[in-house]
């Protein structure tokens, strides 16, 4: 087998070797592309709406009577990045335990969703919030007040969890 006879320039036809018709084809292709709809999204004006399967910022579900969390500490145990800190406390209410401190360090969180998977009360879920900007390291540690989100904002995700988890 002679490799010399399989070089690319031998396989080209005469018109391809002339090169100019090929350039014209390329120019026509890019010219058409110029008028096609653009792929870019003008971000701050039009935002992406993630699907329910999207794993955004982890949040705590808040019902009318308060948070669902019973401070079992499973999420904190399973978290591979050690981002969650839970300190339990007790009350006289029907639901005896509640988290005194519930903090998620968003600088450590890797959005794996293990906390959501492991939670027996469906109290911590991944929201669709992806705009996570902090101006200091302290700001990035979210306390309980910032984590609690009303249940009506999380219906999509809860529905999805019921179907696919």
């Amino acid at each position: 087998m002679n490799i010399k006879h399989n070089i690319e320039s031998d396989r080209l036809t005469f018109w391809e070797k002339i090169y100019i018709p090929e350039i014209a084809k390329g120019l026509a292709s890019t010219f058409k592309t110029m008028f096609q709809p653009k792929f870019t999204r003008s971000y701050p004006e039009e935002k992406m709406v993630p699907s329910p399967s999207f794993r955004g910022r982890p949040v705590l579900v808040q019902e009318e009577e308060g948070g669902r969390c019973v401070a079992c500490g499973l999420c904190s145990r399973v978290c591979p990045a050690l981002a969650i800190e839970v300190q339990p406390a007790e009350t006289d209410k029907e639901k005896e335990r509640f988290p005194k401190v519930f903090e998620i360090n968003m600088l450590r969180c890797i959005f794996c969703g293990f906390c959501e998977e492991v939670c027996p009360e469906e109290a911590i879920v991944m929201s669709q919030d992806y705009e996570l900007v902090f101006t200091s390291q302290e700001d990035a540690i979210l306390p309980k007040e910032k984590l609690l989100v009303p249940i009506k904002n999380l219906q999509d995700r809860l529905e999805w969890l019921r179907q696919y988890r």
């Binding site: 100019i20 350039i23 390329g26 120019l27 292709s29 890019t30 010219f31 592309t33 110029m34 008028f35 096609q36 709809p37 653009k38 792929f39 870019t40 003008s42």
Partner: protein, 352 residues
């Protein structure tokens, strides 16, 4: 004595106008380049600064001016500073002989449109100036004390020298037809036959292709942008440049693009003329309105060509260095010679 003063004042005013227009056009070219490249890649392009992002080039320039100007250790400081000046100066100087419209009459004064548009050596001056442009790039590459810069500079000098030959021969065919080195004469000669439609592109299609290709190579634009091939040479000859010195190279590139487009327009596309007499749309020879209209026509032709340059850049992949040299010496040069011989036979045949 007084007359000389007035002539030099007139030249100075025209020079200032043309210089500012050229720099403005470089800014517009940058905007066009960014917008067109974005559209070709299905992006939107700059749209944040000003309406439709129109102020983007100004912001770019402000950024370049504010940036720190770094001269690398071991660089030849004098030449490192001189190189961008040469590049930019050469790009601007070519406009000394480029006419932008027919002369206009104000009172009994005849004002030439252009700094010195009737220069007998017009084309020769342009060829000389573009040759000097090699110095800017080669010196920038050498004085930076950086192997990538040096390679870029060497590549560009070899490339420019190779393609200048074919360019000269293509221009020579035009000169044979028009019988003049003066750019005004060449334009008028294209206008005065076939009802104003004997543009040289129709009688010199091969020459036009050769000239276009060499113009791409001379301006270091894709597909011949080997001197600044990012993947191989970081940024080529301007790797070690920052701040406004880099800005001058940048400006020179876009000014060169406008200059090349202007020369192509003058030589092959009938300059500022349209294929009918100006009196057909009620404009008299020598009025300032006609001068303005012709200038606008000229600018539109230049900008269409600039857009073509940009369009080609975002379409065609870069040549390899051996392919570039083979194209220059084995294809374009013989073709240009053939074109010259055919043209001279044609001219001889018609004249007798």
């Amino acid at each position: 004595m007084n007359e000389i003063l007035w002539i030099s004042l007139e030249a100075l005013i025209k020079a200032i106008i043309i210089l500012s227009l050229l720099l403005l056009s470089a800014a517009i070219s940058v905007y066009l380049e960014r917008k067109l490249s974005a559209w070709i890649q299905l992006r939107i392009g700059p749209n944040r600064v000003g309406p439709f992002g129109l102020l983007q080039p100004i912001v770019d320039v402000v950024k370049l001016i504010m940036k720190e100007d770094i001269v690398p250790n071991g660089a030849n400081k004098f030449l490192h500073g001189l190189a961008p000046v040469i590049s930019l100066a050469v790009a601007i100087m070519v406009w000394a002989v480029i006419p932008v419209a027919d002369p206009i009459k104000i009172g009994d004064h005849i004002i030439q449109m252009g700094i010195s548009p009737n220069a007998d050596i017009g084309i020769l001056f342009i060829l000389a100036m573009t040759s000097v442009g090699v110095y800017g790039i080669a010196l920038a590459g050498w004085s930076s004390n950086n192997k990538y810069s040096l390679l870029g500079g060497l590549r560009s000098s070899a490339q420019m020298i190779s393609y200048e030959l074919s360019m000269g021969l293509a221009i020579l065919s035009i000169i044979l037809i028009s019988g003049s080195f003066s750019l005004s004469d060449i334009v008028n000669q294209q206008f005065s036959h076939w009802g104003g439609f004997r543009w040289n592109i129709f009688i010199q299609p091969l020459g036009f292709l050769i000239f276009l290709t060499t113009a791409f190579a001379e301006t270091n634009r894709a597909p011949f942008d080997l001197p600044e091939a990012e993947q191989e040479l970081v940024s080529g000859y301007n790797t070690e440049y920052s701040g406004m010195r880099f800005g001058m190279f940048f400006l020179a590139e876009y000014a060169n693009m406008a200059t090349s487009s202007a020369i192509i327009t003058l030589l092959y596309l009938g300059g500022w003329t349209l294929p009918f007499a100006p009196s057909a749309i009620g404009l008299e020879q020598g009025t300032w309105i006609l001068g303005l209209v012709q200038f606008v026509i000229f600018a539109i032709k230049i900008y269409l060509l600039v857009m073509f340059f940009i369009w080609v850049r975002w379409t065609v992949p870069r040549f390899r260095y051996d392919q570039l040299m083979r194209l220059g010496w084995k294809v374009l040069l013989p073709l240009a010679l053939l074109n010259l011989i055919l043209t001279s036979f044609g001219v001889l045949f018609i004249n007798h």
